[in-house]
């Protein structure tokens, strides 16, 4: 009991006191960590927003229009629709009548006159199929292609080349984005850990003295690890708060336009991000202290 209490008091009280006394030496590490954790937080949020954007884009791109023959019966259309809806790759199916298609077409230049010039409505009705994944659009196209209800001339809006391009671009963007975020994350972690390590390195004489006086391992490592956690925690706290403030400011400043640029970044998400930054700071601070101490202690 006494031992645990004393040990706890020694660790926390001692570490906090030393941390305060060593603030001048820790300042660069603190500054670097704060900036990089802040960067990670913002970049993480941007990554999240980009992911949401990409999902929206993919959603748009995976809308397939299935053009119906003018003489298709209601039963045929219903059967086709049922068949499509039964497919697990399909999220939903809508219906556009010939009249609606005409109305849409009339918004293009030149066409109104054209439409006026003929009595018939040349635009086909369509089933608008929302496919879950862009990559499955081709399969759905193949599925409906030869249905009795479908216009044999222009069966669907599917254009193999165009879809492949979209898929390629989105894949490329995803890979590039992920690579960049990973790189940034790696840099942030490494540099932050390095800051702590050089702060510890500067104090390796102290480590040596504590060992020489006969302090057991935990008494040597403990305070340094806790000091590292304090540095990391403070940096994380500052970075987390700034992350939160920036997100909140952006969210409230341009509620509508911001939601378009960074969809899905709500107050809750910002809070979670801030907390994550804080926790990562503590973990990084204490972890890299421990890591660099092990190197000194082993020798």
């Amino acid at each position: 009991m006494v031992v645990t209490r004393n040990a706890g008091r020694y660790l926390f009280h001692g570490a906090f006191r030393n941390w305060l006394r060593n603030l001048a030496g820790t300042a660069p590490a603190l500054g670097s960590m704060t900036l990089l954790l802040l960067l990670s937080g913002l970049v993480g949020l941007s990554g999240f927003a980009m992911r949401n954007l990409a999902i929206t884009e993919a959603h748009d791109a995976s809308l397939l229009h299935v053009y119906l023959r003018d003489d298709a019966t209601d039963d045929q259309v219903a059967a086709l629709r049922a068949r499509i809806e039964a497919d697990h790759r399909v999220a939903g199916v809508g219906y556009t009548t010939k009249a609606q298609a005409l109305a849409r077409a009339q918004r293009r230049p030149g066409l109104p006159e054209l439409v006026d010039a003929t009595d018939s409505n040349p635009f086909p009705a369509s089933l608008d199929v929302q496919v879950k994944q862009v990559s499955d659009v081709g399969a759905i196209d193949a599925l409906v292609h030869d249905d009795a209800a479908v216009d044999p001339g222009y069966p669907t809006s599917y254009d193999q080349g165009a879809y492949q391009r979209i898929q390629q671009v989105m894949l490329g963007a995803a890979i590039a984005g992920a690579a960049f975020l990973l790189l940034l994350g790696f840099v942030a972690l490494t540099v932050t850990a390095n800051s702590i390590r050089s702060a510890i390195h500067a104090r390796r004489d102290e480590v040596t003295i504590m060992q020489l006086v006969g302090a057991p391992r935990w008494m040597v490592r403990g305070p340094f690890v806790i000091e590292g956690a304090l540095t990391g925690g403070f940096a994380g706290l500052a970075a987390g708060i700034v992350t939160l403030l920036i997100s909140l400011a952006l969210i409230s400043a341009g509620s509508s336009s911001f939601a378009q640029v960074a969809p899905g970044v709500t107050v809750e998400v910002a809070i979670v991000a801030a907390l994550l930054v804080f926790v990562v700071g503590i973990a990084l601070g204490s972890g890299s202290s421990l890591f660099s101490l092990r190197k000194h202690l082993e020798s």
Binding site: V2, E206, I209, Q211, L212, G214
Partner: protein
């Protein structure tokens, strides 16, 4: 059976068996055989660079012997695993030649730290009280809250002595503990070391202070060029061997 162990059978607290230690090609101590008994006060003398500090470092397992065995309080210091080194060092109080005070702790905190290292059951109050007592004993009761860089050279040295004695270890090794002290204070420290030896601690003091060595009439080990050239028992007054030798 208790009682069967008689006084003269007490095992050596420190035992060197054919110990050699080199730094690269430079031999610092060579083929040392040595035994120190509990409660002994022993002086270690010899010219600068003779290997005194090296010998003390071997006891504290700061360094390992190149060959030979070093036994301290029953522990094999020459082959101790890294995790057992702290156990050994907790049984040895050390006054380092360059003090080695923790720069971010005050004098009192330095002393209390060494005390709590040996026994975590000691409460903060007790550590404080015993630390202040130790600082008083070296004449620094009024400088307890000063940081090392705020103390004079001799004051730092005395804090180092206080730190070494505060936990009353079975073995105390002191490397030149009076090098930066005036005669008066040096005697005060020597008296303190003697007191501690009288309470059963083995005390090994490396020193250049001929005056003290002569007057104390204790056992004197003489080291020259890394070799133990003379082991003069207590109570004998004689010219210091190495001075005769040089």
């Amino acid at each position: 059976m208790p009682g069967s162990v008689t006084f003269c059978e007490l095992p050596s607290l420190v035992e060197f068996v054919g110990v050699t230690r080199s730094y690269g090609s430079r031999v610092a101590v060579e083929d040392i055989h040595l035994g120190l008994d509990p409660g002994e006060l022993v002086f270690l003398v010899g010219p600068s660079g003779a290997g005194k500090t090296t010998l003390l470092k071997l006891i504290n397992r700061e360094i390992r012997p190149t060959c030979g065995e070093v036994w301290v309080d029953g522990l094999p210091a020459h082959q101790l695993s890294a995790s057992k080194v702290a156990d050994l060092r907790r049984r040895v109080g050390v006054v380092f030649q360059d003090y080695k005070l923790l720069p971010r702790l005050t004098a009192l905190e330095n002393v209390a730290f060494a005390l709590q290292v040996t026994d975590l059951r000691i409460s903060d109050e007790e550590a404080r009280d015993r630390g202040l007592d130790a600082l008083d004993a070296v004449g620094l009761g009024d400088r307890a809250d000063a940081f090392p860089h705020q103390l004079s050279g001799g004051q730092q040295q005395r804090v180092a002595v206080a730190r070494a004695v505060v936990s009353q270890p079975p073995l105390l090794i002191a490397d030149e503990p009076t090098g930066n002290l005036d005669v008066e204070t040096a005697w005060q420290i020597t008296d303190l070391l003697e007191d501690i030896a009288n309470f059963g601690t083995t005390v090994l003091v490396a020193t250049h202070n001929v005056e003290i060595v002569k007057r104390m009439q204790r056992r004197v080990l003489t080291l020259v060029d890394g070799r133990l050239v003379r082991d003069q028992p207590a109570g004998r007054v004689g010219r210091l061997a190495w001075a005769a030798w040089s």
